[in-house]
């Protein structure tokens, strides 16, 4: 029952922090949603800030088990691994899945860092970055400079994140159905082909699928 309240607090706090941001989230709101007493936060966490940190840490722990991307066989071609990487990342961002606030609160942290940011980067982002860099190492010519590899990685991740971070803009820009216009696998497919073409590992992203040819 003890840890139970604590966990309920973290969950409620996570939702509200992710939704409204740190300052706008009040301890009273959080406790109410957690069915806990007002004093519970200070009893279990000492202060509001620590509850926030705990929420971020929890989200990051939960999502960490995702991080070792779907075990792909050692002999899987780099191109397919890139495709799988992009698909997985998209699925995690946009799929309806488990608590939405897990991602939300971490992305908030990454865009506007507090004390918890470094930990998120090291434990959650860095492994993903390493996975991607591993793929790119196989995919790109050896002589390529470190900076250039980073930039290509950023180009990939930037494309993916855009659809999450700027969903509201997309909705306003293309109107009606908004982002639902783009089925998830279509997005993943686009980014994959866009990227592969950019690095010379696939045909250009132009109209007819006829031009696609021998990818997978």
């Amino acid at each position: 029952m003890a840890d139970d309240t604590k966990q309920r607090l973290i969950d409620a706090a996570g939702e509200i922090f992710a939704e409204k941001g740190y300052e706008a989230a009040s301890i009273r709101d959080i406790c109410q949603r957690a069915d806990a007493n007002l004093a519970a936060v200070n009893y279990h966490f000492g202060e509001k800030r620590q509850l926030y940190v705990a929420a971020v840490r929890h989200a990051q722990c939960c999502r960490q088990e995702d991080v070792p991307f779907p075990e792909w066989p050692a002999d899987m071609p780099a191109i397919d691994r890139l495709r799988a990487f992009i698909e997985t990342m998209f699925a995690r961002m946009l799929a309806g899945q488990r608590p939405r606030w897990h991602l939300e609160i971490m992305l908030r942290e990454l865009a506007r860092p507090t004390e918890a940011c470094a930990a998120v980067v090291e434990d959650y982002i860095r492994p993903m970055a390493n996975t991607l860099r591993g793929i790119l190492r196989d995919l790109l010519p050896d002589g390529m400079s470190e900076e250039q590899r980073w930039m290509i990685g950023f180009s990939i991740v930037g494309q993916i994140l855009f659809y999450y971070v700027h969903q509201p803009v997309i909705r306003l820009l293309i109107g009606h159905a908004g982002i639902e216009t783009f089925p998830l696998d279509q997005l993943a497919d686009h980014v994959t082909r866009f990227t592969l073409a950019a690095i010379g590992a696939g045909p250009a992203v132009i109209r007819s699928p006829s031009a696609v040819g021998s990818l997978s």
Copy 2:
């Protein structure tokens, strides 16, 4: 003197809103930075929210004159216009230029919209989107679907925005010099080449130009 205070309030508010977000910014802080009396906000704007809206609107007005991208000659090739578009956008995001909060507060609004978001999109974002779409219309084959053109546009903008929005992550990831590792023109060059290659209008982004071959 009257409008003067009002303007000082907007400027001070813009800085603080952009830095700390709406809730965390207190009227007292704002008035202090603006050298104005505490009651000035309510006198000139009625309430805090309206001051925020005024700040966003002001930022958007100031930046709007930027929007008609550097007049390029009618006969300028689409490829060069794309390059210019990307360079300009990068320069606006990352260059040391005028009040940083202008962009900051608008991006905040775009990522986490309030009532002012729609206006920003219509007056600031939409024209940029149209410019880009014009370029892409010339650059891409005619038969390409509407959705696909949007996705390509998003792939471009996503790459650029990434360097601004996730600067803190980049800094943590690649350590030391952080984003300063990448000179501005190098970033613009990378995104341009990456994009052109992706859509089959340029050689792949790989080290040796030898592998490029007959794409364009």
